[in-house]
């Protein structure tokens, strides 16, 4: 049974947990990031991180160095560290500005595995690779620009701390080298290449029917790349080998995470986490983590799948065929736990390669923690889908 928390009435744009999962940073579609502390079965707001002056688009929490990085539409990113307040002595989160040098919104941010760098995706057709400059006590950036042709929507680090995957609105998923001479050791050769100066393109993939690439992810070993695009498909690419493309009959997926070398969990506009499984011999969708009966008070009848049969449609049908203007009589509740698009799925428990739980947040303001082992078949419910 998944754990469900209603965090807010507003959409949750991004979420990130600290190392022991006792604290959570969320952005509720606003200029501020909120820190919540778990107390029993509730999340209690404690501190507000206020510094951005436009909506925060992404948050990441470095587990070992306990630093938070936030990216926003105001074209800035801040790194937050806990330090004692000079006056009261209380421990508070203090921001450090990052010199991003981008002239459009920052869209996505992720710490590198070693936490000595982070990558900021942006609408300026660039990815800023940021590293700390101890001399000036600020974060400086180096831009990955070529050959990006449009807004970068998502980034993900390779476990070797050097390679970076990026998905963008020019329909491409790419693998770049984000090697910074000053801090990185020369990386060992991988399947993506051996000589890796900054901005080397190690791979470029696209889905047949195109579509913005909403999410990218390296497998735990880093040898395989998965990406979800807006043509309702997910692609799994083996460098120099096959690229598997799974087309879904449902609405597009927008976020994904690998739970093991042969399993991916992805979610999106269909409001539920879908599980994909496979190997270099082929990939397929194997089910969902949401069996359709968890959502309290919902009728899990046949035909009430996802959004197709959802409220709006029934309302218009009733108005058309029976002349009814059904005020509150139709059930607009979806049979899934999430009642709106899932915007973020992240590992919650386990070690890379053996993730036992994942967390999801979405536009409905809910946070849900799922066991990755309880997969339910989706096929029966797909067949029930009708107009």
């Amino acid at each position: 049974m998944p754990e469900v928390f209603s965090i807010s009435q507003n959409p949750i744009t991004a979420h990130a947990f600290n190392a022991d999962r006792s604290q959570l940073a969320v952005s509720l579609n606003s200029n501020d990031a909120q820190i919540l502390i778990r107390s029993g079965s509730e999340w209690v707001p404690t501190e507000m991180l206020t510094e951005h002056d436009k909506v925060i688009t992404s948050i990441d929490w470095a587990p070992n160095s306990n630093q938070i990085v936030t990216a926003s539409q105001d074209r800035n990113a801040y790194v937050w560290q806990q330090t004692p307040d000079p006056e009261t002595g209380k421990i508070v989160w203090k921001p450090t500005l990052v010199l991003l040098r981008i002239n459009r919104a920052a869209t996505h941010v992720r710490w590198s595995p070693k936490e000595d760098k982070f990558a900021v995706a942006s609408g300026a057709r660039a990815i800023a690779i940021c590293s700390f400059d101890p001399e000036n006590n600020w974060w400086v950036s180096k831009l990955l620009k070529k050959p990006i042709r449009s807004t970068v929507l998502a980034v993900d680090w390779h476990p070797n701390n050097v390679l970076l995957a990026a998905g963008s609105a020019d329909m491409k998923a790419r693998v770049f080298s984000a090697y910074i001479k000053e801090i990185d050791e020369r990386p060992a050769a991988t399947v993506w290449g051996s000589k890796l100066p900054f901005n080397t393109i190690c791979g470029e993939f696209t889905s047949a029917a195109g579509g913005w690439v909403h999410s990218v992810g390296f497998s735990p070993s880093g040898d395989v790349l998965a990406f979800a695009s807006h043509d309702s498909s997910i692609s799994i690419a083996y460098p120099g080998g096959p690229v598997y493309n799974i087309r879904m009959p449902t609405l597009p997926l927008v976020t994904l995470t690998w739970t093991s070398e042969d399993n991916i969990i992805a979610a999106g506009h269909d409001c539920q986490p879908i599980v994909f499984s496979g190997s270099d011999a082929g990939w397929q969708e194997i089910g969902t983590l949401d069996n359709g009966s968890y959502a309290a008070g919902s009728k899990a009848g046949a035909g009430s799948v996802g959004r197709l049969k959802a409220g709006a449609f029934a309302t218009f049908r009733d108005a058309d065929s029976r002349g009814q203007t059904s005020n509150g009589t139709t059930d607009t509740k979806l049979i899934t736990i999430h009642q709106n698009t899932v915007t973020s799925v992240r590992p919650y428990a386990g070690v890379p390669g053996q993730i036992t739980q994942v967390s999801t947040t979405g536009v409905d303001g809910k946070l849900v923690i799922w066991d990755t082992a309880s997969v339910n078949a989706l096929t029966g419910r797909m067949a029930a889908m009708s107009m």
Binding site: S150, G210, G211, H230, D231, S233, P249, T250, M385, M387
Partner: protein, 156 residues
């Protein structure tokens, strides 16, 4: 308020503007060849229809369908042949025919259905046929099929 400035094509002044052609792989065939293929296909569709092979006729049109710029004639011709096939299918046969198509063909069929509905003057005479095919196709291929019609830049 003067809003004429909104109609200025600012991409003209941007050397680095993203071109449509960068977003999909162009058809490697020559426009004249595409038109020839479409003509040949039109004939084969007619003979398949005479044999009452609806699925075969549909597959023939949907495979290697013309897309991209400069092939408007071939596109219109393909849509014409497709409408002939759609119109000569009994409504009870539609689901079986759709199920026999490959996923690629289903996606392409959805593109043609929307094209048919968008063509002025065409939709009037074919509206009910297009809508009933659309309903059946969505039941089988899902909303994902419609989403792919919207995202795919290889327009038919």
């Amino acid at each position: 308020m003067d809003v004429a400035f909104r109609k200025i094509d600012i991409d003209v002044y941007d050397e680095d503007a993203l071109q449509d052609s960068e977003l999909y792989e162009a058809d490697s065939r020559d426009p004249a060849q595409v038109l020839g293929d479409a003509r040949a296909r039109q004939a084969s569709v007619r003979s398949l229809l005479a044999k009452n092979d609806i699925a075969g006729a549909l597959t023939a049109i949907l495979e290697n369908a013309p897309y991209g710029p400069n092939v408007e004639d071939a596109k219109t011709m393909s849509l014409q042949s497709l409408l002939t096939v759609l119109n000569s299918t009994k409504s009870t046969e539609i689901p079986a025919v759709i199920k026999s198509l490959s996923m690629d063909s289903q996606d392409t069929l959805m593109k043609y259905l929307y094209k048919g509905m968008a063509m002025s003057g065409w939709a009037d005479s074919n509206a009910s046929v297009l809508l009933s095919w659309h309903e059946k196709l969505t039941e089988i291929a899902g909303t994902g099929c419609i989403v792919r019609t919207m995202t795919d830049r290889r327009t038919v």
